[in-house]
Symmetry: C5
Subunit: 355 residues, 5 copies
């Protein structure tokens, strides 16, 4: 089951600014990837040692530090100290339950987002990951909760010498990262849509097994997606509208495009909600139709045979003197009465459209 | 079934600004119609070659390029390069799933809309098409997803020498195109209304066959129409309010009129929703009324005959000594009791208004 | 049945500004009433000839032209040409389906409203009429869809020499016309309220005949009234707030009063909606209560007699050796058992509060 | 039954500014109480003659005129003429159906409010009264619909020489009057709460008698309270925010406090609505639970005895050759079968948790 | 049961500014804790005498007065008089039913909040307490309704010489107090979440005992939490946005963090509501599924045996001449008919998916 609620318990009672990782326990090694690049040159390093990030950056170079895994508080703290980042921000990076937001400071921009993907092994399990971006003048640091390589496409593009990422500043790279995350959302939306279509087919085929649970499961997923995408819309909007010098004006065109995409996802979740409501209604209607059909059968059988049984009961009485019993064709007479009564009742049901 | 959801899958993972046509596959030839006109002269060309669009425009002439079909990315790209249009806009033109929007730039205005019509062969199938308009100083380029000749009325009017289109600028032609699209919406609204009236008649005639599906089908269509018309309202409003020199002030009167029309369609979809909700309620009420009626019949028959059958059962027992059995008129006595009991029960039901 | 939807079909495809009357067909003669008045003198003319309207107006006089019937496009066009009114406005006058609105121009104010009255012959039929007002500096032209004399009270008041209408300008006369229309709304609201109270009484008296249809019929009427009154609120508000010299400041007091009235009607429609929802709930509750009662009767009879019938069936078996059958008081013994069982079951039902 | 709707009929068709009392007919004498006061002296008069109000006010004195009863239009008109108040305002005073509002004029402030109290004789009957306040520079006139002495507490306080009312201006007295009215609302809210708690207890004790009617009755009362309190919130807010010299700045502290109170009542009505919705749900659930229970009993009895009766019927047949009938212990054998079948069915029901 | 409604009765009719404690009766001694601190020194006093608060504060020292218990009006009045606080504010402090709010005055800030905790003895009972904070230039006074030591963690931190509380001003201490209260909210949210998960498990295990009551109980708690947290969001926002010199600019970072937390709680209550609605739906669906199952059993048994009983009744009649009865294998023939009929009916039910 997809858990909508994020427990607060591990943070309650601590003084503000305490660096505590609150996500699920992880044991894999935290991987740090450092890419120094400009128009002409590119240098890539993969390391497990945080000190690599602190090497001097050559003139005219831009640096992208990507940290996969945030379950080692010491690494986050070391980076925070080197880049002079407030402890409250570091706390938000480590708080994997923190809602998406943007903070625009004078010398850096801080963004929290979430991204989703379906587990490659279990296609019914959505994996949600926390992602933080710190965008400085000539550097960008991205923190990812897990260790899955989610930005491989960007890395491929950055290695192409004539790609836009190489030509533009780190703000364009930030845009590419957010664009990739929104592509993940679109992907999830497609999968949710497939599931809803499967449900519709199940309903048509009258296979109600577990349908209610699946509908509620999907409802939860949709609530979750909307909760995560709605603030992203504001993030993109704030990025476009900001006066910060860290975002060049030429980017606004791209950001408006992103904004359109987030709007589209929010709209699609609305549609999903309406579709699921329709499915629920259809489900309940088909249930009550079935109930009606059952009741109809019960009623027809009962109203047909209960009166007839009364007639047979009548002539099953043991009175000494029941004149009809002594008629030679009495039995056949009663049979005729029964057949006539049954037939007229069936005609009545047919008229009432019960049959 | 009318598909509310537009799949995102073909675009996910591509770098921004990639020109990919995402609509349904099409094989028909893309047709390009070029109309050069001013107050006095008019020249029309129909061609399959995009280069025709790039011929020099004579002084004081206005040009309308209409491209029917957008499934050949190279044509869109050639036009984009000639007219110096950003790749992100070309991407939006090709993205037939893009939601309606308006972008007002310094030297051109870009509009995305959708229009609907019912398939001429299958009157139950709504065809939805993507339409983009680029309005420049003395030219207008319109891109249509399909190849159906939807603007034949405008073409007829433009050929009349004294028509307003010939007298006014290309902004008035843009207004005419949007007006035609809104007329298509009004047309769809009329057809939806007819369907709802058919449903109402079906309900009155107690023909419930498939009624639930039709209602949900209509609900989906209405959701879709509203989703497409609501942003058009904003487009028209933005056109009226803009300071852009491309829209002459004298047009605002016409645009306000358009705005009234879009408002009217939005209101009509609201009414459709309320009517359908009312139909659903009536449907459910009539179902449960029928159920009640069935239950009543069952109850009347059972409560009438079950006690009577008990009496007959009583005198069907084989005890050696049952004094009543030996009475000569015992049988008739019991018959009397049965008739009296049955009559009084029927009276009771009549009093309870069950009969 | 009251038709909520206004068909758009007769207008679709026409170039904007085409003068076409779209209302129901009418054959009665269009009546033109012209009242020239000032503080001291008043001159009234009733004519079928539109040219009467174009006669010169004496100094310090005000003119009220009231046209009953708008099914002759030529009359509207003649007036439009004389008073120099844009064709788009004339089109709106003729479009009897147009929603209420106000347009404030430099030299005139254009208002579209609707008014309702119950048919004098069939009290269940609401008649809706389109009404347009053009307010100029010293004249007012009102166009009414039908020919019923709805402003007779104003005409009576205008003829009184010391009435306010005579003293104030044509803006006060406009206020009186709108006030009369709102009085018609209040009247309809009273009738709707009476119908709801009738429904409540019907429900209490358990006469459910046709109740569902009446409720939905009323719901539609209420939706319609709200749709027509809500824009009137904005019209009155715009009139009060406008800087136009055509509305004198001293009128704002009266207009605020009108605004209060429209607010009151909107509030009353809200109350009607809540009352009808309550009625529907009560109806459904009383239906399911009745169903429960029916089920209870069925259950009581069945649970009482089915076990007893089993006992009689037991001793109706034809086994050669059933010792009880040979007891002399066996029959009476069984009768006792039956009476005891029935009594205890009745007591059980009483305890369960089923009886 | 509490009547939500206020009929408009008595006002329709009258020219604006007509002074007509529209409330229920009353015969009791209108009482006029005049209190002249300042810090040091206080003079009180009770009179039936309106001319008493027009006596000259001594220097540095403030006057409170309280008129209990507004069913004599001549009194209202006399006061209006003396204090130079517009006829439209006098009309609003007499219109006991007018919704609460505030009008801030240059030289006076006009407030319409409603107050509720429970009838002292019939605790189920809410009495609603219309109250209007005209606040001038050194006088305040309050008009009350009925003649009940609702402001006795204020009168007591004003007679205390060191009370705040004596020290401050008439604006503070206005505040006290509104505060008293809001106290009446709080009182009503307490009574409504008591009724809801009674309902909850009734539901727990399974005494459903009339519960639905009581719930709808309460719903109506709550709608009414909210309708009356919501505009009062705006009145208090407008009084606080106004620049009028009639309201001294030092009062804003008290008005903010009042605003908190009205907010509290609005919130409480929200809670009442949620509680009643919960009660309705509980009621319907308990009804359908009862229905389920009834159905269960019917099903258990039927499924237990119908098959057994079939067995007895089988051996009640009169075939000449039924071998079992001739077995000596056949009867006991069948009895055993019946007991075993019944027991296993009971076990099955137990397993299904029907028993 | 958790009481949503706060009675107003004890305050009605009193003049504004009257100091009356309206909470539940308490008898425990009111405890006053006074902490004087600066960067270097700290002095703590616990006393029952309010005069201790009025001792002179040394230069550069800050004072935190915490009063546990507000059921002695004289203490509140003494403090109000000493610190020169308006009586209306003192009234709000004593009014334990007052909704949360913030008032920013020139020389002090007044905040009302509520906090919740679960009773340590009865884990199903939520305790709600009223808390007021007065923040001055170098002092802070906090009033707590009960006497539980809820700020022990802050007191511990303040005693640490190098803690932030010691370094910063009293505004930071205010922030810590509000942060602690919000931690209490998060704690409650966790407990509510646990309860909802218990309910989900109960539903899956089909143990419906009392489930409806628990759901409504939780709904009430959630309504209450939201009602208390929503104004806190505004309080924190106002604190961040204020220009008051009492709040240093450096605190805004911390306040924004607090704002995020309150937002998170509000969002969680939304999720709780959706989860509970889902639970209710599941509950009702499972109930009606059970009902359907019961009806199915009844129908199957009845339709199976009622016709068969008719057959046995037929041959239980006592007619003198029924030819079948005399057949030697008549009985076995009838048995065969019965078995064939029963089998085909069972097959029919299987086909209908009733079995």
């Amino acid at each position: 089951m997809f858990n909508l609620y994020e427990s607060n318990s591990s943070k309650v009672g601590l003084p503000p600014g305490s660096l505590v990782y609150v996500g699920p326990e992880r044991t894999d090694q935290i991987n740090i990837s450092i890419i120094d690049y400009n128009k002409n040159t590119l240098q890539e390093k993969n390391s497990f040692d945080v000190k690599e990030c602190f090497s001097d950056l050559k003139l005219n170079m831009k640096r992208w530090i990507h940290i996969s895994g945030m379950h080692d508080e010491s690494i986050i703290e070391a980076i925070g100290n080197h880049f002079n980042i407030n402890h409250l921000i570091l706390e938000d990076i480590l708080n994997t339950n923190h809602r998406p937001k943007i903070e625009i400071h004078d010398n850096f921009i801080f963004v929290i987002m979430k991204f989703f993907y379906y587990d490659s092994e279990d296609s019914n399990k959505i994996i949600k990951e926390h992602l933080c971006i710190i965008l400085g003048k000539n550097f960008i640091i991205s923190f990812q909760e897990g260790t899955k390589d989610v930005f491989s496409l960007i890395k491929k593009r950055i290695k192409l010498k004539d790609s836009k990422i190489r030509k533009f500043g780190v703000d364009y790279l930030t845009y590419c990262i957010i664009d990739t995350i929104i592509d993940y959302y679109l992907n999830i939306a497609d999968i949710v849509n497939d599931k809803i279509e499967d449900l519709e087919e199940d309903l048509i085929n009258n296979s109600y097994e577990n349908i209610l649970n699946t509908i509620y499961e999907l409802k939860r997923e949709i609530i979750h997606i909307r909760r995560v995408v709605t603030p992203v819309r504001n993030i993109v909007n704030d990025l476009e509208k900001t006066d910060s010098l860290l975002i060049s004006k030429s980017l606004s065109f791209y950001l408006r495009d992103l904004y359109d995409h987030t709007l589209q996802i929010v709209e699609q979740t609305e549609i999903f909600k309406e579709l699921l409501t329709g499915l629920l209604d259809t489900y309940h209607s088909s249930l009550s139709n079935k109930m009606n059909e059952i009741m109809k059968v019960l009623t027809i059988i009962s109203t047909l045979f209960i009166p007839l049984s009364f007639v047979t009961g009548l002539y099953g009485m043991n009175f000494h003197y029941i004149p009809e019993l002594e008629w030679h064709y009495g039995y056949f007479f009663v049979l005729c009465i029964i057949i006539v009564a049954a037939s007229s009742m069936i005609l009545y049901f047919k008229k009432k459209k019960w049959l």
